[in-house]
């Protein structure tokens, strides 16, 4: 539930809360707001996302220069993707160059983005990753996290770190004991063990020794 709410999966959150009889910790309306913004970016409509986030809380982009730069960079990427080269150049000059002057770190990223224009076939370009959907997702997640922070909510869902912890704990245990290892994280299927009693004892022992 925490994962659905934080990552902005409203329908999933609603369905999940109905099935489990859980009530979501916050109103689903606010998930909707964030979901609209996320979708806008994932559809390449960065301008709409900026307008929406400014409606939600105008402070976010005014106090978060890095995020603002990444959104503008995303806009530039979208221009290039659509082949609007003149617009791209104009936009880079008017909007992004001043940000680069303000911060050298941004300049580097800007140069990388501009390198997209140098290749006809972006699939062979060393900066082709910028056109990949994962770039949109990265920008969308950064924005989502900033909105959550501004609303005093957790910005990182608990599920990924819980899963990481599970994998780590299983690896650690592997070196010491036999135990019913979770083979498949999606189905939570446990590995078959010939003698489950021994394994349980082993786990108990290992817990006692810690």
């Amino acid at each position: 539930m925490n994962y659905f709410v934080i990552e902005g999966y409203k329908d999933a959150a609603e369905a999940f809360s109905q099935e489990c009889g859980l009530s979501p910790s916050i109103d689903v309306d606010s998930i909707q707001d964030r979901m609209n913004i996320r979708n806008a970016i994932q559809n390449g409509n960065v301008e709409e996302a900026i307008e929406r986030v400014n409606d939600l809380n105008p402070e976010i982009l005014d106090t978060n220069p890095k995020l603002y730069f990444h959104l503008q960079q995303q806009r530039l990427i979208e221009y290039i993707r659509e082949g609007k080269i003149t617009e791209a150049l104009e936009f880079a000059q008017d909007e992004l160059a001043p940000r680069g002057e303000e911060n050298p770190e941004f300049l580097e990223e800007l140069e990388r983005t501009m390198a997209l224009l140098a290749f006809d076939d972006t699939s062979v370009s060393p900066v082709g990753d910028l056109l990949h959907p994962s770039q949109r997702q990265r920008t969308a997640s950064e924005l989502n996290a900033a909105i959550l922070t501004s609303q005093s909510q957790e910005k990182d869902p608990k599920l990924p770190s819980l899963l990481k912890m599970l994998v780590w704990a299983q690896d650690e245990l592997d070196e010491k004991v036999l135990f019913p290892r979770m083979k498949n994280l999606v189905t939570a299927e446990l590995s078959d063990t010939n003698d489950s009693t021994t394994n349980n004892t082993a786990i108990n022992n290992s817990f006692m020794s810690t």
Partner: protein, 669 residues
């Protein structure tokens, strides 16, 4: 092409159709948010006065127009100090304050509060308006999220956010004691303590920040906050001690700051253990964070341990010095900007130096740690840093270190601190000059190898120039350094100093409106008139006898400051150690003798000691000279012997010892 687009938007603001206006406002808003260039562009197009009119002509103005206009004003204010100055110049603050009244649309209240927060973030913004009329009361009301009667969850988030904004504005408007009082009287404490339990971290942080500034250097308010329980009957200090263990570093920092302010205000003395075992280690740990948290943590740490030897020792036992030294050594001095994502490197360096200065201010242990961290060369380099805050902090650090005679004579000399420090006396910033002067006070002492160097570089001329400064503290520190320079100095040095300073100027300083300056000027006179009769003679010549005696008489009779009385008694003392003529001069002034007699029963033991010293020196007999016997008889006749006899059982050991000495003198005649 771009420019016509923006020009058109500005023109559309004059439209009579609210829809056109709103559209133009939204267009401007989405252009300027996050974009400094566009903010400047629109301010250049003179948008601010137009926005202000939307709030003044309240008749028939679409509420949406006002909401968007308030957001645009707020975004301008985020662009920095010049923008805020523009907003204030066009008198936008009062209309925005009108907007935060509960009778308005909650969205307008939120937008206006946000704009005000951004405006008051600027330290130069005038805060008076908020204390006029009912604005402060409006603001306090907003601290309660339920005041806006939110129905949906979305509205609830907005009302908590408005409460957060109100708390932030309050935190930024308690610069003076007067402001603290007004805010407290308007009922801020219970509402802020309640906000601590609201469960929304941003609002909790803002409430902590406001509480911290309300009790800053204010013991009464500190105690009042500690006593204020939340509606859930929770103890605010307990809440804060929980919050310093929060997941979020910002929350940990602000709770540590609030507890620090309460501690400094002497409001939580019974929590000393928590301060040493929880607050201090939290602050040291926060030095490992990033950005603004890492930047402010050393500042809070410095404030917590200032003047407190125990806490300075505790800081020595932590890893504070090595972490802070790291900042001083490794923060690059490349041009940082407002947009630097790592925070302001200059500010971090300044705060780290201030924290190191605090750790090494009272204990040799701390000083040794700082020296061992091998940062003295970096401190020297920091003295010519581009940021005046860093330069001043480097001085402060040097000052703490120079309190160890050993370090002063070895490490500081080796590092060549004298020349860069001397340069700072001519710094463009008065703060830096003041701090450099204070540091110089230790460097020019008689046992300092750098004293000669400072004089050769024109130190006396420079300090004398500063003695004429209109800035009280700078004037004080300059005369302070001069009086240290002549302390135990050879007659030559004294002569050089007075040649440049002139006796006339010294007399003027003795009559300075600032009592502290008077005291140091008298201390200078005292240091000049010793130890040889020739030194005293020089003062008699320089001031003329009659003027010197006039100074003594007037200060003896009309001073309310113990320190000044002490200094003037020591001036008399030093003259009384002189030759026959000098002693006679004092003896011939019955007025002075009467005052000395009276001060022997002063409530301050230091003054009693100084007065008895005068008597000892006047009755001192080196060669059984008949004139000294005569003096003893005269003083006996004056009633001094009876008085000191009565003082034999004084409660103060030092006084009793001096009394014994005086009685021995009398017994010889």
């Amino acid at each position: 092409m771009n420019f016509t687009k923006h020009n058109q938007a500005v023109l559309d603001l004059d439209s009579s159709d609210p829809a056109v206006r709103v559209k133009a406002l939204r267009f401007i808003k989405n252009n300027i948010i996050g974009n400094k260039t566009k903010k400047d562009l629109y301010i250049g197009l003179n948008v601010i006065p137009k926005l202000v009119t939307f709030f003044i002509e309240t008749e028939g103005v679409d509420p949406e127009v006002q909401i968007q206009a308030a957001i645009v004003l707020g975004s301008f204010a985020y662009g920095g100090e010049e923008n805020v100055t523009e907003i204030v110049k066009h008198e936008a603050v009062k209309p925005l304050l009108e907007c935060i009244s509960l009778k308005n649309d909650p969205r307008l209240i939120e937008a206006a509060a946000r704009a005000l927060k951004a405006i008051y973030k600027c330290p130069t913004a005038n805060k008076n308006d908020i204390f006029q009329g009912y604005h402060l009361q409006d603001l306090i009301t907003l601290l309660d999220p339920d005041a806006l009667k939110p129905k949906t969850d979305r509205e609830k988030i907005a009302s908590v956010h408005t409460a957060e904004l109100a708390a932030t504005i309050i935190a930024r408007c308690c610069d003076t004691n007067e402001q603290q009082i007004q805010i407290a009287q308007a009922g801020a404490f219970p509402k802020l303590v309640n906000l601590l339990t609201c469960g929304f971290s941003k609002a909790q942080e803002a409430a902590l920040d406001a509480l911290a500034y309300l009790c800053r250097e204010n013991s009464d308010f500190g105690k009042e906050i500690v006593k204020t329980k939340s509606e859930t009957n929770e103890d605010p200090v307990k809440i804060m001690l929980n919050l310093i263990r929060d997941k979020s570093p910002t929350m940990r920092l602000i709770s540590a700051k609030c507890l620090t302010h309460l501690c400094r205000a002497k409001a939580i003395d019974e929590y000393l253990n928590d301060i040493t075992l929880a607050v201090l280690p939290t602050l040291v740990k926060l030095l490992d964070e990033k950005g603004p948290v890492r930047e402010e943590a050393p500042h809070v740490l410095a404030y917590l341990i200032r003047d407190n030897e125990e806490l300075q020792k505790a800081a020595c036992d932590s890893e504070a010095v090595s972490k802070l030294a790291e900042f001083v050594t490794h923060i690059s001095d490349q041009n940082s900007s407002y947009y630097d994502p790592l925070g302001d490197g200059d500010k971090l360096k300044e705060n780290a130096l201030m924290a190191l200065a605090a750790i090494s201010s009272l204990t040799d242990e701390g000083r040794k740690l700082v020296v061992d961290a091998k940062i003295i060369p970096h401190i020297v380099a920091a003295m010519s840093h581009r940021s005046y805050g860093v330069r001043a902090a480097a001085c402060q650090c040097t000052r703490s270190l120079s309190r160890s005679v050993h370090i002063l004579r070895t490490n500081l000399v080796d590092a060549g601190i004298a020349t860069p420090l001397f340069k700072l006396l001519s710094d463009e910033s008065t703060d830096v000059q003041t701090m450099a002067c204070a540091t110089l006070c230790n460097i020019v002492l008689e046992f300092s190898p750098m004293r000669k160097q400072i004089m050769e570089q024109g130190g006396i001329e420079k300090l004398v120039k500063l003695v004429h400064s209109p800035d009280n503290t700078l004037r004080l520190n300059a005369i302070w350094a001069l009086k240290n320079l002549v302390y135990h100095a050879e007659s030559e040095v004294k002569y050089r100093v007075m040649e440049v300073l002139t006796y006339q100027t010294m007399e003027k300083l003795i009559e300075d409106p600032e009592l502290d300056v008077q005291e140091k000027a008298l201390n200078l006179l005292r240091n000049l008139a010793c130890p040889k009769p020739e030194d005293i003679e020089e003062v008699f010549k320089g001031l003329t006898e009659s003027r010197l005696m006039n100074i003594i008489e007037s200060k003896l009779c009309c001073s309310w400051s113990d320190e000044i009385i002490k200094q003037i008694l020591f001036v008399i003392n030093n003259i009384a150690t002189g030759n026959e003529y000098h002693k006679k001069t004092i003896m011939s002034r019955t007025n002075i003798l009467t005052h000395i007699k009276n001060y022997m029963s002063h409530q301050n033991p230091d003054i009693r000691v100084a007065a008895v010293w005068c008597l000892i020196n006047l009755t001192w007999m080196e060669d059984k000279h008949s004139s000294s016997q005569l003096r003893v008889r005269e003083l006996r006749q004056f009633g001094f012997e009876d008085i000191v006899k009565n003082m034999a059982n004084d409660e103060n050991l030092d006084v009793r010892e001096k009394v014994k000495m005086a009685l021995v003198q009398f017994s010889q005649v």
